[in-house]
Symmetry: C2
Subunit: 312 residues, 2 copies
Amino acid sequence: MSLTVVGSVAFDALETPFGKRDKILGGAGTHFSLSASFFTDVRAVGVVGGDFGEEEWAVFKRHNINTDDVEVVADGKTFFWKGRYDYDMNTAHTLDTQLNVFETFDPKLSDESKNSRILFLANILPMLQKQVREQCEKAEFVAMDTMNFWISSMKDALIETVKVVDCIIINDAEARQLTDEPNIHKAAKAILDLGLKAVVIKRGEYGATLFTKDSYFVVPAYPLESVFDPTGAGDTFAGGFMGYLASQKEINEETMRRAMIYGSVMASFNVEEFGTERVDRLTQTEINERFAAFKKMTHFDEIPFERAASAS
Amino acid sequence: MSLTVVGSVAFDALETPFGKRDKILGGAGTHFSLSASFFTDVRAVGVVGGDFGEEEWAVFKRHNINTDDVEVVADGKTFFWKGRYDYDMNTAHTLDTQLNVFETFDPKLSDESKNSRILFLANILPMLQKQVREQCEKAEFVAMDTMNFWISSMKDALIETVKVVDCIIINDAEARQLTDEPNIHKAAKAILDLGLKAVVIKRGEYGATLFTKDSYFVVPAYPLESVFDPTGAGDTFAGGFMGYLASQKEINEETMRRAMIYGSVMASFNVEEFGTERVDRLTQTEINERFAAFKKMTHFDEIPFERAASAS
């Protein structure tokens, strides 16, 4: 039951009100892989430069993430992103972006990666996402992410990509922008109408919502008194969601709902510390405990009300 | 199991992107009473002017709301509020406020109203709320609302009132303002520390959250593709919440959670049409159906994950 993810592996520099880091492991592919690795076998497809060191590879190795398809451009440098968060931790301010080897990223999938049952296309050029999807003929469930930049600069190409996946995992602003529809429920329906099985809308501190043709499911965010570093929260969510689905025989309403919870669980851990630090040392017990906490904070018994005869 | 509510009865003039009304029945006490009347016997305490007509009284009568303690100032005019909503239906823009007879509102409670088991203090002057609460010695559960104006102009007096109730039902901005605490979880804890049993935070299109000393419960909002008129949604929520509690033998975590759902159910109907129009003709069956929809959109089965042995 393996899972292939295509996406960025990067170095991040971060400033938050709670501290800073000059150069730590980051990237959508990294956060996704690490999160999914708690649920299934993961194959990462990406590219790094010669500056990608033993310490970074060690994170992948510790979690048995297969990196055979992470290309190393020995004379190049790894994708670098520098960002700052102010007290509103929902908004990242980009201070510097150096695409480096990622600029000419041309994903090369081995047969093993092509044969995965589950495929996640992290945020990269929409045309590349489509090419990868078409190489993975055996994939039973394919999900993608994207970003505002592609929506505004190449919406048509992006929509062609959306049409060949089963699920999209984006935030609410992206859903609105993609459909020109301010109401999030109408926006999700418009995306489903492109032929998708599921649309997952991430809403930051308000949680996440799963839209399918016949159903609607809402997960609140885990109540955190402080968010330390939100970088990678969305990819970590996607990793928990897709990783859990890859571990299940069937992908249906029931397993997708639990996948939403696992995605939320993983994202809630991710933001507790810088970069990959918290998820890197997570345990299965901690994951299960937080899953139970989600159940506790959303559960109520259904007892239809019957008005007693009025005394008056 | 009766419930007393003290609050405004008013005429509203409304403009929304979907239409306008020049003079319709409104007011916190009205919306609350109407909503609660589907669950329990309601006694409304308020004041109106001589311009309050048969049509308005008929709404109360239809729902068996006792208005013995709604004072009529024959030569005065009823509280009037005029507001506008733009496409962001979360924000009301006040165009006109005429307090009229409400300016000197001095709630006079009959013994029957004083003896209610459940009491709701809708948004009025904090000192008046406190006086009413102290007259109702037999009340087992007392909740209150308030507004930004009182928080900024008389926070100390307001806090003295908060200390003598069991529950406060406010929106997230008010909770932050009351506690000078941007994080909503810390804000709720700070309010609970004033000696309350429960803090309910209303979050508009993101639903509502119940904080108690040992627990935390989140309800999403009902997915509406269009909100027609949000006026009174918060009071309608409170009416469903308190009305349901009044119908129950015990007020505990379990019944408060269901009360949160009934509050959300009632609020979701309220916003579908202007003023009291939708709730006025609501049926018990519709309420139960929407309650079931809330269960459906939040339910998932708790099956702790166990990682299968890795194939790699």
